[in-house]
Symmetry: D3
Subunit: 254 residues, 6 copies
Amino acid sequence: MRFDGRQENELRPIHIETSYLMHPEGSVLITVGDTKVICTASIEDRVPPFMRNQGKGWITAEYAMLPRATGTRNIRESSKGKVSGRTMEIQRLIGRALRAVVNLESIGERTIWIDCDVIQADGGTRTASITGAYVAMVQALHKLQVNRSISKFPVHDFLAATSVGILENGKTVLDLNYVEDSAAQVDMNVVMTGNGEFVELQGTGEESTFSYNQLNEMLKSAQEGLMELFEHQKAALGDDVVKLITATKKGKSK
Amino acid sequence: MRFDGRQENELRPIHIETSYLMHPEGSVLITVGDTKVICTASIEDRVPPFMRNQGKGWITAEYAMLPRATGTRNIRESSKGKVSGRTMEIQRLIGRALRAVVNLESIGERTIWIDCDVIQADGGTRTASITGAYVAMVQALHKLQVNRSISKFPVHDFLAATSVGILENGKTVLDLNYVEDSAAQVDMNVVMTGNGEFVELQGTGEESTFSYNQLNEMLKSAQEGLMELFEHQKAALGDDVVKLITATKKGKSK
Amino acid sequence: MRFDGRQENELRPIHIETSYLMHPEGSVLITVGDTKVICTASIEDRVPPFMRNQGKGWITAEYAMLPRATGTRNIRESSKGKVSGRTMEIQRLIGRALRAVVNLESIGERTIWIDCDVIQADGGTRTASITGAYVAMVQALHKLQVNRSISKFPVHDFLAATSVGILENGKTVLDLNYVEDSAAQVDMNVVMTGNGEFVELQGTGEESTFSYNQLNEMLKSAQEGLMELFEHQKAALGDDVVKLITATKKGKSK
Amino acid sequence: MRFDGRQENELRPIHIETSYLMHPEGSVLITVGDTKVICTASIEDRVPPFMRNQGKGWITAEYAMLPRATGTRNIRESSKGKVSGRTMEIQRLIGRALRAVVNLESIGERTIWIDCDVIQADGGTRTASITGAYVAMVQALHKLQVNRSISKFPVHDFLAATSVGILENGKTVLDLNYVEDSAAQVDMNVVMTGNGEFVELQGTGEESTFSYNQLNEMLKSAQEGLMELFEHQKAALGDDVVKLITATKKGKSK
Amino acid sequence: MRFDGRQENELRPIHIETSYLMHPEGSVLITVGDTKVICTASIEDRVPPFMRNQGKGWITAEYAMLPRATGTRNIRESSKGKVSGRTMEIQRLIGRALRAVVNLESIGERTIWIDCDVIQADGGTRTASITGAYVAMVQALHKLQVNRSISKFPVHDFLAATSVGILENGKTVLDLNYVEDSAAQVDMNVVMTGNGEFVELQGTGEESTFSYNQLNEMLKSAQEGLMELFEHQKAALGDDVVKLITATKKGKSK
Amino acid sequence: MRFDGRQENELRPIHIETSYLMHPEGSVLITVGDTKVICTASIEDRVPPFMRNQGKGWITAEYAMLPRATGTRNIRESSKGKVSGRTMEIQRLIGRALRAVVNLESIGERTIWIDCDVIQADGGTRTASITGAYVAMVQALHKLQVNRSISKFPVHDFLAATSVGILENGKTVLDLNYVEDSAAQVDMNVVMTGNGEFVELQGTGEESTFSYNQLNEMLKSAQEGLMELFEHQKAALGDDVVKLITATKKGKSK
């Protein structure tokens, strides 16, 4: 039994509230245990300079925490005048992950801006951000399709992320909260598509190492958790959108 | 009748949700019409260098908007690497306003950090921030009192803020939303204490001017709105805390 | 009697030296007591991006202090690599105030850059800046008219600013110097047009508050001081320019 | 056969030149094919503030490229005034990896600064940096031991890194050069200890995904390459130092 | 005959107004032709970290131009958020030059901050800054002596600077104004002590070169101009201070 | 005899390795005693904004040190987020010096980017940078000529730099190393063309001064050293390129 009463391979309670804000094209409040992230998707009708005139779109992400999302107050990155390495790493990860399941040609020369703002943090903020951002992004792209701004639906698979790790006692556990994460020997983030393929795998020994067998055990646990997360995403998106994605996937694999 | 059906001297619907987040000593989600601000109060057990060894505390505020709090996405100030003049003006205003109703000696050498993060904007974000931040701050200071970290309750009055303005049609209106604010000839922010004294008055003609009579009309409308806002704050704070403030006020005026 | 021998409603000695520098289109050294500010107006033949193709001009201001304008040396904002909140607040105020008396359509797609550089500070630097910058701006715009670069004179009213406040002894005083300002309970800056309308009103209780009656007393004192400041501006500008402004004002009010 | 004539599981030629510079405590020029990195290790007799008074040391890394290490000139990060997300990600990775094989208690309150400066880039600069930095660090720590500044040798295992990926043609290849890396579907960096345990695993689908079988194939290829890299490191370090590390490892596992 | 009617070896009219501002310990408005610079000297009772506990003082300088000191408006360095290379070069030069004639031991652990703010520029701003800053610094140090804060007068020689150059027509001219400077083939700044020794010599061919004979001709012209500048400095400083410097010089050379 | 056994007018051993890196159009590793600098020349097919549409090219330089090029580690300028005054001074000097021997019209609207990265420092890094950068630049421009991108060879003279100084013992020495430079009373950098004309002369008394006779002695020593440096450059460039430069020089002087 874990600190908070969960089984080793048990996710924390998930809730995904869609259309959370009035202005963005897509917006979600995702709750994973005590971690809460506002994810929005904004559509801009142009691409960054390095992408121009290629007939393709772009997806980019930004991530931040409210100063008091955590137990002690963090100095705002705007006050410090620079973005930390950790923040940059996370926003690059989110953008890269989402791009793996979107046909960038189908969205035309548009940029999808993803903003993940953590309003309360209890571990797993980057994986919650990916899982929530996916839903916000799909809603924004669906709106483009409904408005007939694009002709082919660009999302060809589901995408979610979770963490898995090895605790000090050697146990492999799923979806670490802050207390577990702080003390874990190994921490691994897994981003996966709906058909069970890896998009991103980041395993890190924290002043520690892990063996091939431990890797396999972690991957198995992560995969089970991710299958559950896909169900939450599908419920949040609704049947019509789920069918669109499934159809795009089939169209692609032919 | 106004754009959104309100009377000229009618506030938008207000809601103040206290203890909104798990980590901060005080936290509030304040909703004023479609404007939503998360206000937190964090207590740090030291003061900035320029205040040291004076036996007094300090209150300082930071303000930000989520990139997609508005109709079009704003670039994050952390990405730009600097805080805009507008942001600085607002955070200086919030801090100054709150300090007017707190006995800084009574909080000892502590800093109260106020964070106002606008998650959805529809005009009046700075006044909503002050009104919400006051409640978050009182809760944090009340916790200090309950923990016996301080001996005298330091808040000696209520404090709220609203805006008032003159529209293009010459009408004086209370609590302008974004559409009204964009087109107003005059925009005035009024910060007032529970006993009807001014803390801050900022009236600005937007490529326009205003007469002494118009000033008086605006002040009258603002005062009525503020009296209503105090009732919402009192309801949110609860009777015990309201009594504490009232008692501190009496003690001070003797 | 005040610290420096003045009556409560008495301004400090004023001097406005025009054409102070050889390069700028308009330039003034304004002296208000021991406060000295160099105000220049520069004309650029284009507007900032957000104003383009609207057939209108723009007026923007920058404000700075020499490091040793004050009793102790301040670190240069260029060395710190950022502009302080106080500086930003002041430069936004100066620009906004000047725009209230200029017909931006009449100046075409040009930017008037106002620079206010305080070379010696003894309180009231922001109000002296506005009063001096108005004169420098009018001279620069007059040159445009003389050169036939514009056809209609764009300045339709006079504009000046002063401060008023409530001292620790409860007295309302006009035009506070540094010693008075540091200890004042209430500090109010008033920007007014030649016909007695408010452009900007910023009243602040410094860990203090003020009543409606005190507000009225302050406004009365400010207005008297401003009437005197307009006479200094008129003397500095000369009869021909004064007539031009008066004529523009009449043309506008018809 | 690959672009440059290598077999799929063949590393590029490796050369590690030790004591490359006169000033640093440890310094290496590592050459991996056409990729050349200068790695230095500097010892500072204090730790960063967050580590003080814990009786432990710290290892931190910085990474940069000369502007013309690449085919087109990159703007210097010092000129841009900020460090890119990619750079931050890499320097965090290098530091984390090295800390996994060092007993931080044994180095006392010292910081080992690792600097990896790429003077010529042809893919795999981050893995070459780790492999080279390990050698520079070991030499610097060995010097500390020789000087009797530390009593227990702190390095308890070997450490090297390589990349492995899946090309557009579906082939799994080891040690990708720039041309291969640019077009690869999957790119994975593997950091491993001398006894075959993972320290870090970062696999990324580039607008693509990878299956569990592909993961296993990549890991196998990486492991073979890493075994070869350990031999190069051992040759560069010399027998005495290799024995010290082996002895520390045995001491630890008891 | 030159553009402005001067002889080749003729300085522009010089004026040095001392005690120009009320706050600084020393302050000067120096006018060299149409170039005007406010030079102030401020005394701080500590030295920068790298100088601590050596029983010596430090002299450092900052230099800036008002945005409209020149024919077209320059963007403020505080707005750009960084100081240009040209500015840094000049402020390093001013500080280095002044340190050459001051006995740093005699001023104790104090910093003399020199600020040179160009309010009007017409060539030669860096040399006018040095010449004016010397006078402001001497006055500030004299005040320290008068207050008995220091026991030995620290300034042991006079110091002034001028420019000399070779025009397009091949003529060697003294004290170039902006028009001459812009077109000159060679530009040389010479900083000299009262007894004719060089402190700093900076000669630059502007897409051009100069011979040994031309160098000698320039140095001769510069020396004559500098002798005249020393007379202006002496007149500004007054006999008593001049005697102090002369006495310190003699004391040193023994 | 000097610290390292050299005669007073003796240069340190020089080595210039050309084509040191694979990517840049020109690249050199220059070794002067223990000072080692990588100099590269990159050609960009456009000029900075202030140079556009003038039919001329531009040459600009950047200079940096690896953190551990020196005895103690320096913080990277990219981490500090700004470039030091010393760095700016040096890069301005390098660019200016190179422009003196190149016909900018002949290179068309191209920018030659010079990068000088010091990998090991033992005094004289700026002069070694100029001497090495000249060779890298010539090679890059020669490549342009060979590719027929330009029709006239633009380099019309040789260019090298060295330092000369006066030690504490009053001796004039050539090519100071770090130990000598740190203690020297006077330090002078001389940049000269192949025909013995000065391009740049920067002499600085370090809290000291120098006489006209000392200046002459230093210039004589510098010139002798520079003649030797030109021979090293010629050997590195090869006969064909040397002839091209000589021919361009003759063509120009006609």
